[in-house]
C-alpha cells in the first residue's frame, strides 16, 4: 500500500514538473517575474533588444496557400528591414504560427506566440479565426494589424486594423465603378454562397447596384458552393439567355478559370468583372490566357504591374521562394510589416516596451499615417480600423495586366 502511494506521488510530481517545465522554457525568461497570470498580457514585455512581431495563418489544410503567401511576404519585409538596420535601431524578430484556418487552433497559436514574447501581432490571415483572436488581443491590449481578414467584424475592437479592403467596400466600389464607367447595361452576378468572402461582396454589391439603376440593372444572380464549383453551364446559360453583357465574379481565380473556359465553350462573351481574388488568373496551370482577354478586375495589387516598387518586390519574392509569383496576400503582408515599421518609428516604439504601451502608441500613430505601399498609395486609417485606399482597376490586354483609366 505504501509503495502504491509513493509511486502515485512520484507519477504526480513527474506530471507537474513536465507541465511547469514547459512554462519555464517557453516564457522567454519573463515567467518568473510574471507573477499572477491575469497580468501576463501586459507583463509580457520581452527583454532584449529586438521587437517581436508574431503572425498567424493557415500553412496546412485547404487555405494553406494564403497563409504561406503571408508568411513569405512578411518574412521578406522583415529581412529587408533588418538588413537596413531595423525599426529605430532595433531588429525585428518574426515568428509565424499555423492555425489550420480554425478559430480554436488560432487562439492556441496566439497563446504560443504570447509565450514566445510577441509584442505586435501581424495577423491573422483568414476572417473567422481572426475574430476569435481579436477578442484575445483586445483583452491583452496588443496591437493587431491583419493583412487579409476582410470582414467588418474583424475590426470591431479598437486595437485591430486592416491592410486589405473590407468586403463591403469591395462590393460597393465595384458596383459604383461599373456604373460610373458605364461598363454595362445588363449585369449578371455569380457568387460562392459557401464562402464568407464571396458572399460578403455579393450582398453589398446587390445593395449598391440598386442605386445605379440609371446605368445598369442586375438581370440574373446565381450561386454555387464549394462542392459544386466544377460545372457552371446551367448558370452561364441562364446569364446568356438573360442577355447579360457583364458578369460580376466575386470569387477566387481558380474557379474563375473554370468559369471563363465554360463561357467560351457556349460562346458567351460578356465582360467578366472580378475583384481582388481574381488576381492570379494568368498563372493558372493549363489555362489558355487568351480566354482572360478583356477581363476587368478591381484589385489593389497585381504582380505584373509596371511600377518600380511592385517589380522590385516580385523579383525579390521570386528569388527567395523558388520562382513563385506572389499573390495579393503576400503583398498585403509585406505592406503590413512596413506599416508597422513606419508607425513604430513615428511614435518612438522601442524594444523592451510593454505590449499595451506599444499598442497605445501604434494606435495613435497609424491613424495619422499616409502610407505608400504595394497595395495602394496614400493609405490612411480611421480609428475604427478600416483602411482608406483607392481600388485600382486593371484590364487584361494581350495576356498582361494593364491599368484602366
Amino acid at each position: 500500500m505504501k509503495k502504491k502511494i509513493v509511486s502515485l506521488v512520484m507519477a504526480g510530481l513527474l506530471v507537474v514538473s513536465a507541465i511547469s517545465g514547459c512554462g519555464g522554457s517557453g516564457g522567454s525568461g519573463s515567467s518568473a517575474a510574471a507573477g499572477s497570470s491575469a497580468a501576463a498580457g501586459s507583463g509580457a514585455a520581452a527583454g532584449g533588444s529586438t521587437i517581436k512581431i508574431g503572425s498567424i495563418g493557415p500553412v496546412t489544410g485547404a487555405a494553406a496557400l494564403y497563409g504561406e503567401a503571408v508568411k513569405n511576404g512578411a518574412q521578406l519585409a522583415v529581412d529587408e528591414i533588418n538588413a537596413a538596420g531595423g525599426i529605430g535601431g532595433s531588429k525585428i524578430e518574426f515568428k509565424f504560427e499555423d492555425d489550420e484556418h480554425d478559430a480554436e487552433k488560432s487562439v492556441n497559436a496566439y497563446n504560443t506566440l504570447k509565450d514566445w514574447g510577441m509584442q505586435i501581432l501581424m495577423g491573422t490571415v483568414t476572417t473567422t479565426p481572426c475574430i476569435a483572436v481579436t477578442e484575445k488581443t483586445s483583452a491583452d491590449q496588443m496591437f493587431q494589424l491583419t493583412p487579409s481578414a476582410s470582414s467588418q467584424d474583424v475590426i470591431a475592437k479598437d486595437n485591430v486594423f486592416q491592410v486589405c479592403f473590407t468586403d463591403p467596400n469591395q462590393g460597393i466600389a465595384s458596383a459604383k465603378y461599373i456604373g460610373t464607367k458605364k461598363l454595362a447595361t445588363k449585369v449578371a452576378v455569380l457568387y460562392n454562397s459557401s464562402d464568407v468572402y464571396s458572399k460578403g461582396i455579393y450582398e453589398k454589391f446587390m445593395e449598391e447596384s440598386k442605386n445605379q439603376s440609371g446605368t445598369y440593372t442586375v438581370v440574373a444572380e446565381e450561386a454555387f458552393t464549394d462542392e459544386s464549383k466544377t460545372d457552371f453551364s446551367a448558370q452561364l446559360n441562364k446569364f446568356k439567355s438573360a442577355g447579360a453583357d457583364l458578369v460580376f465574379c466575386p470569387f477566387y481565380y481558380e474557379v474563375a478559370a473554370v468559369v471563363l473556359k465554360q463561357a467560351n465553350e457556349i460562346k458567351f462573351t460578356p465582360t467578366f468583372f472580378g475583384v481582388d481574388g481574381m488576381d492570379g488568373i494568368l498563372g493558372v496551370e493549363n489555362f489558355d490566357t487568351k480566354l482572360a482577354e478583356n477581363v476587368v478586375l478591381l484589385t489593389p495589387f497585381v504582380a505584373d504591374a509596371q511600377d518600380e516598387k511592385t517589380q522590385k518586390f516580385v523579383a525579390a519574392y521570386k528569388k527567395a521562394y523558388n520562382n513563385v509569383t506572389p499573390i495579393q496576400f503576400a503583398a498585403d503582408a509585406y505592406d503590413a510589416i512596413y506599416i508597422i515599421k513606419e508607425a513604430a518609428e513615428k511614435s518612438g516604439v522601442k524594444a523592451g516596451m510593454k505590449t499595451d504601451e506599444i499598442c497605445k502608441l501604434l494606435k495613435e500613430a497609424i491613424t495619422g499615417l499616409s502610407f505608400d505601399g504595394l497595395t495602394g498609395t496614400g493609405m490612411k486609417w480611421s480609428a475604427d480600423g478600416a483602411v482608406n485606399k483607392d481600388p485600382k482597376a486593371m484590364v487584361i490586354k494581350n495576356g498582361a495586366y494593364t491599368a484602366m483609366d
Binding site: K3, G12, S20, C22, D98, A109, N111, S151, V196
Partner: protein, 374 residues
C-alpha cells in the same frame, strides 16, 4: 480500503480522483503563474474534448455501435447555446446563470436531435450504421451553414436564403449569419465549469454502465439476439444510450462555443474530421474504457500544440506518434510489454493482478468489434 470495494466502484473512484487531482494541480499551477499561456488556453478545450470522448465511448464502447457523426451533436449544442446566450446577453445579466441555462438548452436540443436521428439509424447495424451517422453529421453541419437567424423588436426572424431576406426592423441584429456563423458569443466558459461538467458526464456515464440499463445495453452489444430472447427491449436501450451520448456531446458543444467568440460550422470543427478525431480518442484510449478516453483526449489534444516547436514537421510527427500509440495500445507485443512493466502492474503488485482481468476484458471487446467487421 480500496481493496474491499467492488472492482467497478474502485475503478470509478480512481477516475473521479484523477480528474479532481488534475484540476487541483492545474489550478495551483495557474494561480502561481507557472503555466504557459498556451496550456491555460487549452484547459477548456481539453475538458470539452474529454466530455466528447467519454460520451462517444458510451455509443462505441458500451452500446457497441460505431458512430461517425458525433461532431454533429456537438454542433447542435454549440449553435443552440451560443444563439441563446447572444440573444439573452443583455436580458439575463448573471453570466453563470445564463451559461447554465444555455448548457441545459444545448443538452436538451442535442438529445432531441439524437433521438430523431436514432429512430432511423438504430435500425441499422455495423458498417451501415457508421455510414449513415456520418451522413447525418454532415447534414447537421451543412444545415447550420445556411441558417440565418435574427432578432428585432418584433421577435425572432428565420430564413435559409440570405441575411437581407430576414426582413428585420432597423433595430434588428443578426444572430446566426449563414456560413459566417455566430460572432460575439459571450466568453462564459472557464476551467472550473469545464471540470464540473466533465465530472457530471462521468457520473452519468459510469452510473449508467453499472446500472440495470447499462447491463442491458452491454448485453445488446455482446449478442443482440440472445439479449432480445431474454426480453430486453432493443430499441429502448439502444435509443437510451444513443440519446444520452448525443446529449452529452451537446454539453461539450456549449462549452466549446462559449470559449471562442466566433463559431462557424466548418469540416474542421464540426464536420467528419472532428467526428473521426473523437473516435480516435476513444479507440486509442481503449474502447469501453472511460478513463482511457479522457487520457487519450488530453494527450492527443496537447500533442499537436506542444509539437509547435518543430513547426513544419509537426503533422508528420503527430501521425507517427498516433501509429506508435496504436501499436503500444493494441498490438500483442505492446500489450505484453504493458503487462510486464505497466503502471497498473506496479500499482497492484500486492493486490489482485488487475492486468489479467483487464486483458480478458479487452480481448472481449476486440472480439465484439471484429464481429461487426469494424
Amino acid at each position: 480500503m480500496l481493496k474491499n470495494m467492488k472492482k467497478s466502484t474502485r475503478s470509478n473512484i480512481i477516475t473521479y480522483a484523477m480528474v479532481i487531482v488534475a484540476y487541483i494541480v492545474m489550478q495551483t499551477l495557474v494561480s502561481t503563474g507557472s503555466v504557459t499561456n498556451l496550456i491555460q488556453g487549452l484547459l477548456v478545450p481539453l475538458c470539452a474534448y474529454s466530455i466528447l470522448a467519454v460520451s462517444l465511448n458510451l455509443t462505441v464502447g458500451i452500446l457497441g455501435e460505431l458512430s461517425l457523426g458525433h461532431a454533429g451533436f456537438m454542433c447542435v449544442g454549440a449553435f443552440v447555446s451560443a444563439a441563446f446566450s447572444k440573444i439573452n446577453a443583455t436580458s439575463i445579466e448573471n453570466d453563470l446563470l445564463r451559461f447554465i441555462i444555455a448548457i441545459i438548452i444545448a443538452a436538451v436540443c442535442a438529445g432531441i436531435v439524437g433521438i430523431l436521428i436514432g429512430i432511423p439509424v438504430l435500425r441499422l447495424k455495423g458498417d451501415y450504421l457508421a455510414i449513415v451517422t456520418l451522413a447525418f453529421g454532415e447534414i447537421i453541419k451543412n444545415v447550420m451553414n445556411v441558417i440565418y437567424l435574427g432578432v428585432d423588436s418584433k421577435g425572432i426572424h428565420f430564413c435559409i436564403t440570405k441575411a437581407s431576406d430576414l426582413n428585420m426592423e432597423s433595430d434588428g441584429k443578426i444572430i446566426i449569419n449563414g456560413a459566417t456563423g455566430i460572432t460575439g458569443t459571450p466568453h462564459s466558459s472557464n476551467f472550473t465549469i469545464g471540470v464540473i461538467l466533465l465530472l457530471i458526464t462521468l457520473f452519468i456515464v459510469l452510473n449508467l454502465i453499472n446500472s440495470r440499463s447499462g447491463r442491458a445495453i452491454m448485453a445488446i452489444r455482446d449478442n443482440s439476439i440472445a439479449a432480445e430472447s431474454i426480453g430486453i427491449d432493443l430499441t429502448k436501450y439502444k435509443m437510451l444510450a444513443f440519446s444520452i451520448s448525443a446529449m452529452l456531446a451537446g454539453v461539450a458543444g456549449a462549452l466549446y462555443s462559449h470559449n471562442l467568440s466566433t463559431l462557424a460550422a466548418t469540416s474542421k470543427n464540426f464536420g467528419y474530421n472532428m467526428s473521426i478525431m473523437i473516435l480516435v480518442f476513444v479507440v486509442l484510449g481503449g474502447i469501453g474504457n472511460i478513463r482511457g478516453s479522457i487520457i487519450a483526449a488530453i494527450i492527443l489534444t496537447l500533442l499537436p500544440e506542444l509539437l509547435r516547436a518543430v513547426n513544419d514537421y509537426r503533422m508528420l510527427i503527430y501521425a507517427i506518434l498516433l501509429i506508435a500509440l496504436m501499436l503500444f495500445n493494441s498490438s500483442p507485443a505492446g500489450i505484453n510489454f504493458r503487462e510486464k512493466y505497466g503502471i497498473g502492474r506496479l500499482l497492484h503488485k500486492n493486490g489482485p493482478d488487475l492486468s489479467e482481468t483487464a486483458g480478458t476484458q479487452r480481448a472481449h471487446h476486440v472480439e465484439g468489434a471484429g464481429k461487426k467487421g469494424v
